[in-house]
C-alpha cells in the first residue's frame, strides 16, 4: 500500500465519522431575516438601557427635530446594514457586494454630522466647533452594544469564517451603531463636532478593535472536533 493510499484511507475514515456524527442541521435563514431577529434583541436592550439610565429631559423636543431624527435614522440604518453584511459574509457563495451595504447609510450619517459641523460653525463661529473631552460616550456605546455584539457574534459562529476580521468589524459596527442611537436618547450632546468625534470615533474604534480580534474569535473549527 502506498503512502497516498494510507492518507486517502484516513480521509475515508473521516468521511465515515462525519456521516454518522450528527443529524443534518436546519438551513440558516436569509441574512436579512436573521438580522431582523437580532435587531429586536438589540433594540429591546437599548430601550431598557435608556429606561435604566433615564431619558434626557428634552427628549420630546428632540423627537420632533428633523436633524436629530435624520441623524438617528442614518445611524440606525447603518447598524442594521452592517449586521446584514456581517451575517452575509459568513455564507459561502454569497455576493461580495453585501459587504458594501453599510457604506451608503454610513456615508449619510457621517455626511449629516459633517454638514452639522459646517452649520454650527456658520451659526456660532469657532465656539460652535469647540471640542471638549467626553470619554463617557465610549463607555456607554460599548456597554449598550455589548449584548447585541455578543448575540451577533453567536450568530456569526453558525456561519463560515470566510472573512473573520471584516465580519467581526461589521458586527461591532452594527452593535456600536445601535448603541450610539440609544446613547443620544439620554446623553445631552448634540454639537455636531462632538457627536462626530466622540460618538463616531467610539463606533469606529470599537469596530476596529473587534476587527483586529476577528481571526482569533472566529477561527476555523479545529480538526480534533
Amino acid at each position: 500500500m502506498t503512502t497516498d493510499d494510507t492518507h486517502a484511507k484516513g480521509t475515508q475514515a473521516l468521511i465515515a465519522r462525519l456521516v454518522t456524527q450528527a443529524p443534518p442541521p436546519r438551513p440558516l435563514a436569509h441574512p436579512a431575516r436573521r438580522a431582523l431577529g437580532w435587531l429586536l434583541v438589540a433594540l429591546g436592550f437599548g430601550a431598557a438601557m435608556v429606561w435604566v439610565i433615564g431619558p434626557r429631559p428634552d427628549l420630546a423636543e428632540r423627537l420632533v427635530d428633523a436633524r436629530f431624527m435624520l441623524e438617528q435614522g442614518a445611524a440606525l440604518a447603518m447598524g442594521i446594514a452592517a449586521a446584514i453584511a456581517a451575517l452575509a459574509l459568513t455564507i459561502p457563495g454569497a455576493s461580495a457586494l453585501w459587504r458594501l451595504l453599510p457604506v451608503g447609510p454610513g456615508v449619510l450619517w457621517l455626511g449629516m454630522l459633517s454638514v452639522g459641523c459646517l452649520r454650527d460653525w456658520w451659526q456660532w463661529g469657532a465656539v460652535g466647533l469647540r471640542l471638549t473631552p467626553d470619554p463617557a460616550c465610549f463607555g456607554y456605546i460599548a456597554l449598550i452594544g455589548s449584548l447585541p455584539l455578543l448575540v451577533l457574534y453567536t450568530m456569526l459562529r453558525r456561519g463560515v469564517p470566510l472573512a473573520p476580521r471584516l465580519s467581526l468589524a461589521l458586527a461591532a459596527l452594527a452593535a456600536a451603531g445601535l448603541g450610539n442611537v440609544a446613547l443620544r436618547f439620554f446623553h445631552m450632546q448634540d454639537a455636531a463636532l462632538m457627536v462626530l468625534v466622540w460618538q463616531g470615533g467610539s463606533v469606529a474604534l470599537l469596530a476596529l478593535m473587534a476587527g483586529l480580534c476577528g481571526r482569533r474569535l472566529l477561527p476555523w473549527a479545529p480538526r480534533a472536533a
Binding site: P24, P92, A221
Partner: protein
C-alpha cells in the same frame, strides 16, 4: 447535497467522497509544494469545514460555488499557516546560531538530555531524520541538503519542521 440535508446518510457519504476526490486534485494543483500528507490534511480540513457549514447552504442556490468558496478560504488559511510555520522555523534556526547555549549543566543532566534526544530521533520517520541530519547536524543549506537527499527544498522544510516539533514534544515530555 439536498438529499444529504434531508438526512440521507448514503447520499452524504457519496457526496463527501466525490468532494474529497475533487479537492485532492485541486489542492495538488494549487499547492504543489505540499507533501502528500499535508495535502491530505488540507483535503480533510475542507471536508470538515464543509460538514460544519452544511447549514449555510441554501437549496435554492447552486452547490459548486458554495463548496469552492469554502475550499478557497481553507486553502488560503492553510497557506497562511504554512508561511507562518516556516517563518517561525527560520527564526528559531537563526536564534540557535546566534546564541551559544552552553549552560553549566551537570554530567547527569547532559546524559539525560542525550538519551532523550536519541529517543526523540528514533521516533522520527526516515525522511525527518535525514532532514535533521543534513540541516541541523551537518549544517547544510537547504539547497545543498536537497541535492544531497534528492528531495525538494519545500519537502525538506516541512520534514525538518515536523521533526523539530516531535523532538520538542519528546524533550518536553521527558
Amino acid at each position: 447535497m439536498r438529499q444529504a440535508q434531508a438526512g440521507d446518510a448514503a447520499a452524504y457519504a457519496g457526496l463527501l467522497s466525490e468532494v474529497a476526490l475533487r479537492m485532492r486534485r485541486l489542492v495538488r494543483r494549487r499547492a504543489p509544494w505540499l507533501s502528500s500528507e499535508d495535502a491530505e490534511d488540507v483535503v480533510q480540513d475542507i471536508l470538515l469545514s464543509l460538514h460544519q457549514a452544511r447549514a449555510t447552504w441554501d437549496p435554492a442556490r447552486p452547490f459548486m460555488p458554495w463548496m469552492v468558496t469554502i475550499a478557497r478560504a481553507r486553502l488560503a488559511d492553510n497557506a497562511r499557516r504554512h508561511a507562518r510555520r516556516l517563518a517561525i522555523d527560520l527564526a528559531a534556526s537563526d536564534l540557535a546560531e546566534t546564541f551559544c547555549d552552553r549552560p553549566t549543566n551537570s554530567t547527569s543532566d547532559a546524559v539525560v538530555t542525550m538519551m532523550s534526544l536519541r529517543k526523540a530521533m528514533q521516533d522520527l520517520s526516515p525522511a525527518e531524520r535525514q532532514a535533521v541530519d543534513l540541516l541541523r547536524l551537518r549544517e547544510m543549506s537547504l539547497t545543498e541538503a536537497a541535492e544531497a537527499s534528492g528531495s525538494t527544498v519545500a519537502a525538506l522544510k516541512v520534514a525538518v519542521h515536523r521533526a523539530m516539533r516531535k523532538i520538542r514534544a519528546t524533550l518536553g515530555r521527558d
